[in-house]
C-alpha cells in the first residue's frame, strides 16, 4: 500500500516540479516563438540569489523568494532588450536558431559568473517547510507537499493573468496575431519584453524551490531545462494548458518507471516517449499543426 502511495506522491512532486520549470519556457515560446536556452540558468540564478540572501546575509524565504523573482524579472527584461530583441529585428528568417544560440551563449556566461562568484562546490539552503508528514503510511517531506501544491498554483496564476488581466490579454493578442495586435495599439516589443521577464520570474521561482529541495550547483539548471523541453514538446509548443497536462503525464510516467521498472530506465523511457511524440504527433497534445 505505502509503495503505491509513495509512487503517486512522487508522481505529483515530479509533475509539479516539471510544470513550474516549464511554464516560463512555454509562455516565451507561445508569444515570441523562440526557445530561450538560458531558462535553466535563470533557475540556477534564482536558487543562488536565495542562497545569497538566506545563507550569506542571514535573511529568510519571505525576503529571498520575492527578491529572486524580482531580480529574475529584471534579468529577463535585460535578456530581451539586449539579446532576444535585437536578434528578432535583425533576422526575420532565422530567429529561432539565432535566439537559441544567443541564449545558449548567455547561459554559458551566467553559469561561469555563478562559478566565479560562488565557486563550484555544492551549496545547501534550508528547506522552506522542514519536517516530514505521514500520508497513508508513507513518509513524505513537507517540502514535497509544498511542491505538489505550488505547481497547480503557478498554473492557476498564469491562467488568471492571461485571461483576466489587460496585460495578459495583450500577451495573448500578440501571441495570436502580432500584426493585428499592433493595429489595435498594442506595442508588441513591450509585450515581448514583458513575456520574457515573466518567464524568467517563473524560472527564478522554480530555482528557489528546486534549490530548497535539492542542493545548489552551477549546473543545477541543465537537468530541469531538458525535462522542460520534453514537456514543451509533449504539451504542444506554446500551450500553457498542454504544458500542465504534459507535466503530469511525464511526472507520473517518470515516477512509476522509477518505482516499478528501475531508476536507470526512467530517463530512456522518457526519451522513447519524446521520439514517439515527434514521430506521430509532432504538434504535441495541444499544439497546432
Amino acid at each position: 500500500m505505502s509503495i503505491i502511495v509513495l509512487a503517486i506522491v512522487n508522481g505529483f512532486v515530479l509533475s509539479s516540479m516539471y510544470a513550474i520549470a516549464s511554464l516560463g519556457l512555454t509562455l516565451q515560446w507561445g508569444v515570441l516563438k523562440v526557445l530561450n536556452f538560458s531558462h535553466g540558468l535563470f533557475m540556477t540564478w534564482g536558487a543562488y540569489i536565495a542562497y545569497w540572501i538566506i545563507a550569506m546575509l542571514g535573511g529568510n524565504y519571505l525576503i529571498a523568494l520575492p527578491s529572486a523573482i524580482i531580480i529574475s524579472f529584471f534579468m529577463g527584461f535585460i535578456l530581451y532588450n539586449f539579446i532576444i530583441g535585437p536578434l528578432q529585428t535583425r533576422s526575420k528568417t532565422e530567429i529561432v536558431s539565432n535566439v537559441f544560440i544567443g541564449t545558449l551563449a548567455v547561459s554559458i556566461i551566467l553559469e561561469n559568473i555563478v562559478l566565479i562568484i560562488f565557486g563550484g562546490r555544492y551549496k545547501g539552503i534550508s528547506t522552506i517547510i522542514p519536517g516530514f508528514s505521514n500520508i497513508f503510511g508513507a513518509q513524505v517531506s513537507n517540502q514535497q507537499i509544498l511542491l505538489i501544491m505550488l505547481g497547480p498554483l503557478c498554473f492557476g496564476f498564469l491562467l488568471y493573468f492571461l485571461s483576466r488581466t489587460r496585460l495578459g490579454m495583450a500577451v495573448r493578442a500578440v501571441a495570436q496575431d502580432n500584426v493585428g495586435a499592433a493595429i489595435v495599439g498594442i506595442d508588441s516589443r513591450k509585450v515581448f519584453a514583458f513575456t520574457v521577464s515573466i518567464g524568467s520570474c517563473l524560472a527564478g521561482l522554480a530555482g528557489v524551490l528546486l534549490g530548497a529541495y535539492y542542493y545548489l550547483s552551477p549546473q543545477m539548471g541543465s537537468a530541469p531545462l531538458i525535462t522542460a523541453l520534453f514537456v514543451l514538446v509533449l504539451g504542444g509548443m506554446g500551450s500553457v494548458k498542454g504544458t500542465i497536462i504534459a507535466s503530469y503525464i511525464i511526472g507520473f510516467i517518470d515516477a512509476f518507471s522509477r518505482f516499478y521498472i528501475g531508476n536507470f530506465w526512467a530517463e530512456p523511457i522518457l526519451f522513447v516517449i519524446f521520439i514517439l511524440v515527434i514521430l506521430f504527433r509532432p504538434q504535441g497534445l495541444y499544439g497546432v499543426k
Binding site: I3, L115, G119, R121, Q139, S141, Y215, S217, F259
Partner: protein
C-alpha cells in the same frame, strides 16, 4: 539599364581585384621584410636550460562538473609552487604554472588542451586532478615524451596499463589501485561481527550505484565480495549518470526488506546528501556506507552532524584540521581543501623530488626514471610507486603508505577505525540504528 548593371558589376570586380592585389603586396612585403630582417639580425643567444624556468602544465576542468575539485587542485598546486619558488625553486629553476581549462574533461577537449600545452606552451611537466575518463591524453604525452601525473580514473588507467604493458612510460598515476575499495568494507564488517562489536539484523545488503566507471568498479567489486562471504543481495540498483532528484523509490525498497548493510557508491555530494536526509526521515537498522563524499568539505558543510555514524573508506590518511598544510590552505583560500586539494599539493613535491633525483629538470627521460625511485612522505600518505601495480605506474596502497582506512563520521569529522595500525577510535553503532530497530527490527 543593362549597361548600367554591367558597369556596376564591373566596378565591384575591379574593387575586389585591387583589394586582393593590395593584400598580396602587403603580405608579400611583410614577408620579405621579415626574411631580410632575420638574415641580417645578429644571432641572439638562445635561451639555455640553465636560464629557463620549469613550465608546469595544469589542465583542469574549471567549468564542468568537476569545477569544485579543479579549483581545489589548482589552489593546492599553486600553494606548493609558491613554497618551492620561495625556497629557491627546483635545482635553481623557478616553477611557472600554465593553467588550462579542460571544461567537462571530454576526450576532444582534453586532447586539444594537452596538445596546446605541449606544442605551444612548451611545458616541461603536466599534472592534473583528472584527465579524460578514457585516458585519451596518455597517447599525447607519450608521443611528445612529457612526464605526466594524473590523479583520477584509476580503474580505467589500470586497464589501459594492463592492456599496453611498457607503452606509457611517461604517464604516472598519483593514486594506488582502487581494488582496496572493493575489499575494505566487506572485510571490516566481518571483523566487527567476529569481534562482537556489531550484530547485523540479517545477512542482507543492497547496492546503489551509478553509470560511472568509478562507482561501478567499487560497487560491483564490493557486491561480489559480500556475496563470496555468504551475504544475500536484496537489490543492486543502477542509476544513470545524473543527479538524483528523489530517493523515494530506493528507500521504499530498503524499507520493504531492510538490509543490514547499505552500500551507496553514487559519489555525488548533492545526491548523497539528499539520500541521507530522506533515509533519516524513517531509518532502517542498517549500516550506511557512502563512497568518497564524506571526505568532501561541501558535503560536510551541507549535512552537518546528521551524517554522524556514516561509514566510508578513502585512499588517504587522516588529515586533521590542525595539520600545518590544512592551516596554510585555509589561511590562503579561506576554506578547507577537498582530498584533491591535498593530493595535488603532494604532486608538485613529487615532481620536485623526481627532478632533483634526475639532476636535470629538463631531461625528461631521467625525470621519468627517477619517478620509480621516489619515496616521499606527503600530506596524503607516503608516496612510492608500486612495481607490482600495472606497469609499475600506481602508488603503493594499504599499510603505512596510502593507508585506505575505514572511517566513521562524527560531528563532521572523519575518524579512522581500521586497519589497527592507523585506528584512532572504535566503531560506534550509528545514532539512527535504535530507531530503525524499533520499527524494522527482527
Amino acid at each position: 539599364m543593362k549597361k548600367k548593371y554591367e558597369s556596376k558589376n564591373y566596378a565591384i570586380n575591379t574593387t575586389y581585384a585591387v583589394a586582393i592585389i593590395a593584400a598580396i603586396v602587403i603580405i608579400g612585403g611583410i614577408g620579405v621584410y621579415l626574411y631580410y630582417n632575420n638574415l641580417q639580425k645578429p644571432e641572439i643567444e638562445e635561451e639555455t636550460d640553465d636560464m629557463r624556468d620549469i613550465k608546469l602544465g595544469m589542465p583542469m576542468g574549471f567549468t564542468g562538473p568537476y569545477a569544485a575539485l579543479a579549483e581545489d587542485s589548482r589552489d593546492a598546486m599553486l600553494l606548493a609552487i609558491e613554497e618551492i619558488n620561495y625556497a629557491g625553486g627546483i635545482l635553481g629553476h623557478k616553477i611557472v604554472p600554465v593553467i588550462e581549462d579542460e571544461e567537462n574533461c571530454e576526450a576532444g577537449i582534453v586532447s586539444s588542451v594537452f596538445t596546446k600545452l605541449i606544442t605551444r606552451e612548451k611545458v616541461d611537466f603536466i599534472m592534473t586532478h583528472f584527465g579524460n575518463p578514457s585516458c585519451s591524453e596518455y597517447d599525447i604525452v607519450q608521443e611528445y615524451k612529457i612526464p605526466y601525473i594524473s590523479g583520477g580514473f584509476v580503474q580505467t588507467a589500470e586497464l589501459v596499463f594492463n592492456d599496453n604493458p611498457g607503452k606509457y612510460t611517461y604517464v604516472f598515476l598519483g593514486q594506488p589501485s582502487y581494488s582496496l575499495y572493493q575489499t575494505r568494507f566487506p572485510q571490516y564488517v566481518q571483523k566487527l561481527i567476529d569481534d562482537g562489536k556489531y550484530e547485523p539484523i540479517n545477512n542482507k545488503f543492497c547496492v546503489i550505484k551509478r553509470q560511472n566507471e568509478y562507482s561501478l568498479y567499487i560497487a560491483n567489486g564490493m557486491r561480489d565480495n559480500f556475496l563470496d562471504m555468504g551475504w544475500e543481495c536484496t537489490f543492486d540498483e543502477l542509476f544513470p549518470e545524473a543527479i538524483v532528484e528523489d530517493w523515494s523509490s530506493i528507500l521504499a525498497k530498503i524499507r520493504a526488506d531492510p538490509p543490514a548493510i547499505i552500500v551507496n557508491t553514487m559519489w555525488t555530494v548533492s545526491s548523497d546528501a539528499l539520500f541521507l536526509e530522506q533515509f533519516l526521515a524513517d531509518p532502517t537498522p542498517s549500516l550506511l556506507y557512502l563512497q568518497s563524499t564524506p571526505t568532501f568539505p561541501d558535503w560536510q558543510e551541507i549535512v552537518g552532524d546528521s551524517a554522524d555514524g556514516v561509514l566510508h573508506c578513502y585512499g588517504i590518511k587522516k588529515v586533521v584540521s590542525s595539520d600545518p598544510y590544512i592551516i596554510k590552505f585555509k589561511e590562503k583560500y579561506g576554506r578547507s581543501p577537498s582530498p584533491y586539494g591535498l593530493v595535488c599539493y603532494d604532486y608538485v613535491y613529487l615532481m620536485k623530488q623526481a627532478m632533483e633525483l634526475a639532476g636535470d629538470p629538463f631531461n625528461y627521460e631521467e625525470v621519468v626514471k627517477a619517478m620509480s625511485k621516489i619515496n616521499m612522505p606527503g600530506v596524503m600518505g607516503i608516496y612510492e610507486f608500486d612495481p607490482n601495480s600495472p606497469d609499475g605506474k600506481l602508488l603503493k596502497g594499504g599499510g603505512a603508505k596510502i593507508p585506505f582506512p575505514m572511517f566513521q563520521m562524527w560531528d563532521t569529522t572523519n575518524y579512522m577505525l581500521w586497519p589497527d595500525e592507523v585506528a584512532e577510535t572504535d566503531f560506534t553503532i550509528p545514532p539512527w540504528y535504535e530507531e530503525g530497530l524499533i520499527k524494522y527490527g527482527p
